[in-house]
């Protein structure tokens, strides 16, 4: 249970309609201060619109929200003073240099020129872009642009930061850098609302997750609860010798239940939520003299999460970010599922 003052975000019944499309169709969110809260969903689910309403860029058509205790409609200025936004499009000026971008934001926030320059240099250093600081952002790589974007959001450290798909389109190394920055921010006490399409990202960073689909929250819980509710990922084993597959099939079925024989004659897979159980099953194979060429224990993908929660695959909006689907009549919508806290996997 949280009291009002513990909440960084307290939204209820947010609605935003574009024409006939209810992009956000009654979103409730409660986010405690100091945590990372993930909003997970496919393109067009309403994540960006929700963030834009909370960051006061878009006015909700219905519902209300308080961000750090301030009403997002009536006290927009107070909200803007405490939050910052890193949008899906990198929100930096590509016709300026990285350094100029940071100085610009500093000056707009009331930092004096000399101090703004000093702060810009400090941030460029910390984010590994000091060498490119004098070049136009146009020429930056996706990862550098993202880091600059985040740096621009913390010229004055915000109480709450909105991160909208911060790693979409980044290579794994840049992605890890962004994750490290997010962890550092949280460690210093900033609350983060993270929108993402990737279950792995939410799993790595978030303390709590809301799954959003067609403009409504369809499930909430910790990453572990979410994965457990989906029934976990899968263990895939490849054998050195395909002729040992029948024996492996027998052993794995005994350890894990239903086992699928893959098209690859040397491979088998079984659904497996518990990493410990999975690795025990693999040791069981080796103990029995079956030579294992390789194995992987995968997490359920977002698609699987969606399928499990909604009964339909995560559809992708054909273009752009706004959804194109007509809304379901409200009475057909199920209430958000609160996931049971007991079956969390370790």
């Amino acid at each position: 249970m949280s009291t009002q003052s513990d909440l960084a975000i307290d939204a209820s019944g947010l609605v935003k309609t574009y024409g006939d499309v209810r992009a956000v169709d009654g979103v409730d969110l409660s986010v405690r201060r100091g945590c990372v809260y993930g909003v997970l969903g496919p393109n067009g689910a309403g994540k960006t619109t929700t963030i834009r309403m909370l960051a006061t860029l878009t006015r909700p058509d219905a519902g209300s929200a308080r961000v750090l205790g301030h009403d997002i409609v009536r006290e927009g200025d107070a909200v803007r003073r405490l939050v910052s936004l890193t949008g899906q499009l990198a929100s930096v000026d590509e016709d300026l240099t990285g350094r100029e971008n940071l100085v610009l934001i500093g000056k707009l926030l009331g930092v004096r020129r000399a101090a703004a320059k000093e702060r810009a240099a400090e941030l460029l250093d910390a984010f590994g872009i000091s060498e490119a600081g004098g070049r136009l952002v146009k020429g930056y790589s996706g990862g550098m642009r993202r880091r600059l974007d985040i740096a621009a959001s913390i010229v004055v450290t915000p109480e709450l930061m909105f991160l909208d798909e911060p790693t979409t389109g980044l290579d794994p190394r840049s992605r890890n850098q962004v994750w490290e920055i997010v962890r550092a921010l949280v460690a210093e006490g900033t609350t983060i609302l993270l929108c993402t399409q990737y279950l792995e990202e939410a799993d790595q960073l978030a303390d709590g997750i809301a799954v959003i689909d067609r403009g409504t929250v369809i499930a909430e819980g910790t990453p572990a609860q979410l994965k457990a509710s989906v029934g976990g990922g899968a263990l895939t084993v490849r054998l050195l010798d395909p002729r040992q597959r029948p024996e492996a099939h027998l052993l794995l079925t005994r350890a894990l239940g239903a086992v699928t024989l893959e098209p690859d004659p040397a491979a088998l897979s079984a659904s497996c939520a518990d990493a410990g159980l999975g690795s025990a099953a693999v040791s069981g194979l080796t103990d029995a003299g079956i030579r294992v060429a390789g194995f992987s224990l995968g997490q359920p993908s977002l698609d699987e999460v969606f399928l499990a929660l909604t009964g339909h695959p995560a559809e992708q909006a054909p273009a752009g970010d706004e959804p194109v689907r007509p809304p379901d009549p409200p009475e057909q919508r199920p209430a958000p599922r609160t996931l049971e806290p007991t079956e969390a996997s370790s």
């Binding site: 610009l104 000056k107 707009l108 009331g110 880091r147 890890n176 899968a234």
Partner: protein, 282 residues
Amino acid sequence: MTTTSAAPAPLSPETDAAAVRRAISSRSRPAPASRLSTALTFGWRGMLKVKHVPEQLLDVTVTPVMFVLMFTYLFGGAVAGSTAAYLDYILPGVLVMSVLFTTVYSGVALNTDRTKGVVDRFRSLPIWRSAPLVGSLLGDAVRYLIAGVVIITVGVLLGYRPDAGITGAAAALGLVVVFAFGLSWVFTTLGLLLRSPNAVMNAGFMGIFPLTFLSNVFVDPDTLPSLLRAFVDVNPISILATASRGLMEGNAEPGQITVVLGVAVLLTAVFAPLTTRLYSRS
């Protein structure tokens, strides 16, 4: 399906976690910047862009020079009997035309800005909501000044001598820039209503071209058919051109200057709030 990674990947040498944490450990908040200071900062942003892409100044330097030369030597003899006589008439007119044409680009630039994420950044800052708009128009006013100075300089090189001297020329330039500031709000509104920079450019020139040509910028309206003349006489651009000529020659009528300033104030009063409203909802 992704393979579970055993441990978080080590931080690359480029991003220094300790430095990041140091950088965000300071939680001091500066006092909010004043409206004027934020607007000036946005003006500074406009100047930085000119610094990085000086070619942007071509439209305010080369084009006006072409206009002066073309009109003086192509039409001067035919319209006014001699190029020298026409130069006296056309120079303040070309000043008005060139600067007003430049105002269309304010709308184009705003439209370009909006298609990028940077507007979201500005809108999420705790600053005066009109600051990005007022600031970029202040920056544009510098461009108008540059265009004006280029035109007057070219005129002087060609033999134009304003009777009211440099003070008169400066006053005329000042009046034109103030009017242009008012007019540019019309194009920023257009810039937020239309979909692409090109559409803004086309619509803008479709409006400003006839308005400029149906004025006394190029010809004395005495020879025009009465209906056309009636329009030309009330066209604010005619009044601006006449007032500019008057300021340069030292015989300006205060009434005309008042009308010009009044129109500028009116345009600003109507279109500045409209632009701000559209910008806040974009």
